[in-house]
Symmetry: C2
Subunit: 366 residues, 2 copies
């Protein structure tokens, strides 16, 4: 039985029970671990993601794809990936013949997300793709179409949706703890260093702080309200004489208006360090600072009383392992990821509107 056939069998076998419980409960009925190929062996892939397979229930690292032979060797040996499961970008398409690989996780510079997603789908693999999903909404749409045509799932790496403090914040809001959301203040940024890095090359990144870190402010505003913005303003502030910012923006702050009347003030910067949000309504506020970092999240709430620290309900897994397992569980149970291609597309559409609003000096309606 091929991998795909096995998966189909498991998925159909679980289908009857699908309504009974959460995905992980269903998936737990099998001990099968789906195989991931990591494509793009940079810092985030090798230091942050790859070590977290150890805590996964339904995901394992089985293959590596990189343009740098030394990286393939180093990380291949470190993670016990045989040479047969190491690919260059030239040999990547041969992954179609590797039944151990179920999912390709694309962790390249942004402008390469589309082509590798398309090639992975064409090779019959499901795709996890880092955010921003792509550097244009047209690319996002092509990626969605490619995965749909191949009958494969597509998920975007919005890890904060699997992080305990963020899950708690969303739950509190949905439970009405602060009343209707009226105001979100959220800022994401860091002081960027080396001017030669790919993040500062527009052809690779598609843009500056907004594509890289400001997207967290945008995505948080969307998942905290559970709404899509209808109007966007933006102001950019970039010192183009600075070698780091010859091609991409430094600061681009934006404002959002949501259909319910909720509003968001969103910061995005490459010359300031912050990672925070506060969600306010007539009955109180919920604050995370840091909010979407790799670790160390802290929550403070004011719910009818003075502000006080709050510990969220614990989650069974860290955000990285939970994200990896979510796609595996969706595949095993034939469900759609909570952050699929459409979610990535929605962010990129707003990003395009933010750039347009700043450029044209006007409110862009969505």
């Amino acid at each position: 039985m091929s991998t795909i056939s096995k998966r189909t069998f498991i998925a159909s076998g679980l289908a009857a029970a699908a309504a009974a419980g959460p995905l992980d409960a269903l998936a737990r009925q099998t001990d099968r671990k789906l195989g991931y190929a990591i494509l793009g062996l940079g810092y985030y892939a090798t230091r942050i993601i790859m070590p977290r397979f150890a805590e996964c229930e339904h995901s394992k690292l089985v293959a590596l794809v990189s343009g740098t032979p030394e990286k393939l060797k180093t990380f291949g040996e470190q993670y016990g990936i045989p040479e047969s499961h190491r690919y260059s970008y030239e040999t990547f398409d041969k992954i179609v013949d590797n039944p151990d690989v179920d999912i390709v996780y694309v962790v390249t510079p942004n402008s390469l997300h589309r082509t590798f997603t398309e090639r992975a789908a064409k090779a019959g693999k499901h795709v996890m793709c880092e955010k921003p999903m792509a550097t244009s909404s047209a690319d996002c749409e092509a990626m969605i179409a490619a995965c749909k045509k191949a009958g494969r799932k597509l998920m975007i790496g919005y890890r904060s949706r699997f992080q305990a403090h963020n899950i708690e914040a969303i739950k509190l809001i949905r439970d009405g703890a602060i009343g209707p959301v009226r105001h979100i203040s959220t800022d994401h940024g860091f002081t960027i260093g080396d001017p030669t890095q790919w993040r500062l090359k527009k052809a690779l990144s598609g843009g500056g702080s907004l594509m890289d870190i400001g997207i967290y402010s945008l995505n948080a505003a969307r998942y905290l309200t559970g709404e899509e913005p209808v109007a966007v303003n933006a102001i950019e502030s970039t010192d183009r004489s600075n070698p780091r910012f010859k091609e991409v923006e430094d600061i681009i702050n934006f404002q959002l208006l949501f259909p319910s009347g909720a509003t968001a003030q969103c910061g995005s910067a490459y010359t300031a360090n912050f990672n925070r949000y506060r969600v306010s309504g007539p009955k109180g506020f919920i604050e995370l600072d840091p909010a979407t970092s790799y670790q160390g999240q802290a929550m403070r709430t004011a719910l009818g009383g003075p502000p006080a620290p709050r510990e969220p309900a614990p989650q069974p897994k860290n955000q990285f392992s939970a994200q990896l397992d979510h796609l595996s569980e969706c595949i095993l149970t034939n469900r759609e990821p909570i952050v699929g291609g459409e979610e990535g597309l929605k962010d990129v559409r707003v990003i395009e509107a933010i750039y347009r609003a700043a450029r044209e000096g006007r409110t862009v309606r969505l």
Copy 2:
């Protein structure tokens, strides 16, 4: 020797020493206390301001002006103000004949600031006026002209400029502790109650949350950067079906761009409770929360290390007494207040630009 002559004598006597030290040191050379008339006996005047004369060095409460006879009686008796020093709005102009009164502090609804400032100046009195200075820049200009014509000083009640945490924040920024200011996030708002109050009547208030509480976000962005904004965006969110918001706005969030490239994200709301700012640069941040409240300010800084609470250098007086004494000291030493009529005008001009930006859906250049 009349009060004014005495004052002139003292001021000229101190003029030679003027460069030698701060105003209060100069003023301290006399034990004279200038006499304040409080005009408008609402909550802020009677509960917040009037009790703080007790801690003043150069200011004393000597007269009351109100449209409500019961208030004149109650507070007159409480503060030992004789009937000869109690005025109605009809008899107010007779204050010209009262040599005990040096300063009139206008604490009425916003749209009345202009007329009472003009009448006070015409009666030969200096003027302290609450913020917003007026409901239009034209009114502000008329108030400045009236005081100039009368040869009297005009100060706007920006008490935060005399508050220890805010003074420390400004000093840290000017000393370069966070590097150049790149980003300010500031939100001011409260959940407004009684729909019949004057704040919700446009003819009296001139506007909603922005005129009342959002002005703190604006003023903070200006004093923290020490710059004047050159571009403004805004988005309004008001439920006009709510009885409280038939005439004035609820939320109006705005964005500012300053000449140096500093940016500010400013919140203003009548359906959320917040009072905070964070100022960020490449080297760190300074946060006050609450920032501009009557009391209880708290500071947190991250200056090359992890965020930590910080106690500001103590100030000799609370913000209210210091504000009252500042105008007295300026009069005694013939200096201009650090927050004179021009400061109030600058805020109101930006407020007009904020409303225009929201109404027209475009970036307004200043």
